[in-house]
């Protein structure tokens, strides 16, 4: 096993030096082995999204270092690291170009990092066959609609397509930021199932933020609870296997002496 992601004591304060200064993450460290799938939970403002944004390069940490596969990426611009980091957001609209066709969207994801890429390559017949095959694996019937504008798809279909785009060329790291939160329960379940399948098949190192504690305990091999910008506790192996939602909430109360804001937490 090798270290895929290593975060060394990063901190990020928004609006420093003003009355609104907010420490979003504080001296945060973690390591992901290749193939690790960690689920992140925590209240609003715990720092989950800030952590993701720092890893993805949306903003740079005030201090600390981030290494991806042994390479220092702390200050690498967002667009440069995104060829190795796949990302999905809560909003199904965020990950695709609505006026471009399914085929063109997939090509954007594919042509960026395929071997021997050059700026003027176009979609070949072989690419199309590959896209069709991959779309068929989603089981949504999208393989017959390659030339349809993505804007006409439903939220669930768009999110499934985004997942496919993020993993079409296997990324070193996949960041899922509540990617099923905006979907209806049945569709969310389907997209989660696809996530589980694709991540397992390609052995992708993955981090997933969720507000659904049941999902957090079921998916992946590690669960991390964040609070106030750092890790409150982490569950692995047997401890994680035997954990129930009630126990987890109790544990959170003990560790942080606050109750988890359960308004957004679903424990279906």
């Amino acid at each position: 096993m090798s270290k895929m992601l290593e975060i060394n004591g990063i901190s990020k304060t928004f609006f420093p030096g003003t009355a609104n200064a907010k420490k979003a993450i504080e001296n945060f460290s973690m390591t992901l082995e290749a193939g690790d799938f960690v689920t992140l939970i925590g209240s609003n403002g715990a720092g989950k999204s800030t952590l993701f944004n720092a890893i993805a390069g949306v903003y740079y940490p005030d201090n600390g270092k981030i290494f991806l596969d042994g390479k220092d990426i702390t200050f690498l611009p967002e667009y440069k690291r995104s060829s190795q980091i796949g990302r999905m957001f809560q909003d199904p609209v965020a990950g695709t170009a609505p006026h471009m066709t399914i085929e063109e969207n997939l090509a954007l994801a594919y042509l960026r990092s395929v071997k021997g890429a050059n700026p003027f390559m176009t979609i070949t017949k072989k690419d199309k066959a590959f896209f069709k095959e991959k779309l068929a694996e989603l089981g949504l019937g999208l393989e017959d609609r390659l030339t349809m504008p993505v804007g006409l798809l439903s939220g669930g279909q768009r999110q499934a397509l985004t997942l496919l785009m993020a993993t079409l060329v296997t990324p070193k790291l996949l960041l899922l930021d509540e990617h099923t939160a905006a979907l209806d329960p049945a569709t969310a379940e389907k997209v989660l199932e696809l996530t589980r399948k694709i991540v397992a098949e390609n052995k992708i190192t993955c981090m997933m933020v969720t507000h659904n504690i049941t999902n957090a305990l079921e998916l992946g091999n590690r669960t991390m609870m964040m609070h106030g910008g750092s890790v409150a506790f982490e569950l692995t192996d047997a401890e994680r296997k035997n954990m129930t939602v009630e126990q987890l909430l109790k544990l959170f109360k003990e560790k942080t002496s606050t109750a988890l804001d359960t308004d957004r937490i679903l424990f279906s």
Partner: protein
């Protein structure tokens, strides 16, 4: 309208359609209303005229293209590096270009090149006096349109389109949005300047105010073309720009034949653009009123 007038309108329309193609890149694809267009058109005309006057019409067009690309780069640089609002960035460049255009023309407001040979007189010698200009204009526009359709389907072209379509997705897909904006604006303004350069040689005359209102005229052409062809695909969008450019010039020629005062033409263009751009909102409002009325009746 006589056949000669119609042919002239088609020739001019083809040349002006390069501006519509430029706006297809900047306005439709990148979603930027690029006001540099006005200045760039006159810049292209000025570069082309001064070189033509000195016996180098082809080099004049090359310089026009290069000048246009530089102008586009300045606008893009202001936007991407310093975060200047796109419209304001265009206005700043356009205003600066006014002085530069005068400088290029030797500090004269206009530059007649009546006696100098130009690309259209070359074409008349090769293809005959009757259709020489038309053939040259057709060939240039056909080559550029085909190249543009091809380019917008390449990896870079797809990235350019995605930048205008969903910016948040673009940086998450390892595309540099600043680079794409710069590339698009350089390309668009190079085309606009080429159009200006060709017009200067076509009418054997360049003027510092040649570009005034060009962005609106280009948009009007684009929108007219889209009424007929739509813009569902890149091919349709490009064809719409060319067809729209030609139809617009035919409308203008018809208006002039009908003795409409030439001073009113810009007003007509502005009205066409305003109506076309407001149309979707008006339709949505009408649909809402109809729905509300229908709901009350039940």
């Amino acid at each position: 309208m006589s056949l000669t007038v119609l042919q002239g309108a088609v020739e001019q329309g083809l040349i002006y359609s390069l501006v519509a193609l430029a706006l297809y890149i900047s306005y439709r694809t990148l979603d930027i209303a690029d006001l540099t267009t006005d200045g760039t058109f006159a810049l292209g005309a000025a570069c082309s005229a001064i070189f033509t006057a000195n016996g180098h019409p082809v080099l004049g067009l090359v310089m026009a293209i290069a000048g246009g690309a530089v102008a586009g780069f300045v606008t893009a640089f202001l936007q991407t590096t310093f975060g200047v609002l796109p419209i304001l960035a265009g206005i700043i460049t356009m205003t600066g270009l006014y002085s530069i255009n005068l400088m290029v023309m030797g500090n004269k407001a206009n530059l007649p090149i009546l006696k100098a040979d130009n690309v259209f007189t070359y074409a008349e010698r090769v293809f005959g006096a009757g259709f020489g200009k038309l053939i040259l204009a057709l060939v240039i526009v056909a080559i550029i349109s085909a190249a543009l359709v091809w380019f917008l389907r390449t990896r870079t072209g797809l990235s350019l389109r995605a930048t205008g379509d969903n910016r948040s997705m673009v940086s998450a897909s390892s595309i540099n949005p600043a680079l794409m904006t710069t590339l698009g604006l350089c390309l668009a303004n190079a085309l606009t300047a080429l159009s200006g350069g060709l017009i200067a040689q076509y009418q054997k005359f360049s003027d510092a105010t040649l570009g005034t209102g060009m962005v609106v005229i280009g948009l009007a052409s684009l929108i007219i073309g889209e009424v007929f062809i739509g813009r569902k695909s890149v091919l349709r969008g490009v064809l719409a720009a060319v067809l729209g450019g030609v139809i617009y010039r035919i409308i203008i020629a018809a208006a002039l034949s009908a003795k409409v005062n030439a001073n009113n033409l810009k007003l007509i263009s502005a009205v066409i653009v305003a109506v076309a751009i407001c149309y979707p909102a008006v339709r949505a409002k009408l649909a809402f009123y109809r729905m509300r009325k229908g709901g009350a009746a039940k």
